[in-house]
Amino acid sequence: MSKLRDVITQTKDVVYTAEFPIIDGGGMEQVKKNVERLAPWFVAVNATDNTAAHAHASNVSVAIAMKQHGLEPIMQIVCRDKNRLAIQADMAGANLHGIENIALLTGDDVTAGDEPETRRVFDLDGPQAINVASILNAGTYLSGRKLNPAPNFFICSVENPFAPPHDYRIERVLKKHRAGAQMIQLQIGYYPERLEKFCAGVAATVPDLAIIPSVVLIKSAKPLSFMNDKVPGISVPQDVIDRVAQSTDQAEAAYHLALEQCQHALALPGVRGLHITDFRHDDTLERLMRDLGRTPNQYT
């Protein structure tokens, strides 16, 4: 049973999701530590699939490990590294292990990673992968061959309302919804007016689609400049960078920037919760969650 689906469809509670840190070292002990830190605050957490085009412990293996340790995964599948056979195999594998939340993404390009010489796949794109998940939910593979028992996937996806062409981002999300997506996590962004326009446009047509904007917790202005310069699809206006950079206490200024972003996003139509990326800054995460009115273990 997907607790994430229950919270979205059965309750009015706010949905908080996060990113599970990549696993390159520390083995299962590290998985356990991450689970202990995240489980009190989040209903479900993303098990990523080679984030930023870097190889890591796989999406399916991390999702299984999270589940074994008691944290509900949202298993991501990215179109960059796998053809349609491998993507369906990931889905069937998730089904075998009782993983119900899956998120389908187009994915960063290989040039964003540390092995830019690799072959990019993109045999499917994001909306097609969502549709394939819906096909599996109906009990067959893409070919029509039976899959039994059929999965009961809660299908998620992502969108970046901050990147051009801005007006078209709403139509694209509606297409993803038609393909079967029920929840959309958004890219990190620093243009509140773009977020407002996007949420209003989506909620006006599909009010049942759960929009989950993302907020990143940082400790100084440096990561803002880094994201602006290096992360595809993220632009940070100079006045936002200056606000943090010119403060006498950068950590405090960065925290208040994030808190304001959270409060702003939560008040928008269609928004059912937030996705928090925190780069392992434990104390700030707890402070943020408490400032947003949360107490530990509210979902249990």
Partner: protein, 131 residues
């Protein structure tokens, strides 16, 4: 007949290569994508732009190139294209059929070969459109 097919293939490629940098995917969707070929997107995305489009509207992978889908959307809005073409802009286009690579999309259009999709896909499209 094969001679005619080869001729069509040559004419199609000769026309589309210089204008759209056509890669002969054999399942042309130009009319529904603002007369912009999605196969020139480095990720070959047929259902809209990825999340990596730069602030200036250029491509994540090739910074010197304007995003194919930024261009497509501009053209869809501004070009005097037939309404029926514009209506198809937001269609969910199926995964590329790699078996059609190098064949003539004109022939595949006439024979309706380009409308064939895997059984699971076809069934879902039928169900979602009948609602």
């Amino acid at each position: 007949m094969p001679k005619l097919l080869n001729l069509l293939l040559a004419v199609e490629h000769g026309m589309k290569k210089p204008v759209w940098d056509c890669t002969m995917c054999g399942q042309c969707v130009l009319h529904s994508t603002g007369m912009t070929c999605p196969m020139t997107c480095p990720k070959t995305l047929r259902n809209g732009p990825c999340g990596g489009v730069r602030e200036d509207g250029h491509c994540e992978v090739k910074p010197e190139m304007r995003c194919v889908w930024v261009k497509a959307y501009d053209r869809k809005v501004s070009l005097p294209l037939p309404t029926v073409w514009k209506e198809h802009y937001n269609d969910l286009r199926p995964p590329v059929d790699m078996q059609l690579k190098g064949t003539s999309s004109w022939v595949n259009l006439i024979t309706k070969r380009d409308q064939q999709t895997p059984a699971g896909w076809a069934k879902r499209q039928e169900e979602t459109h009948s609602h």
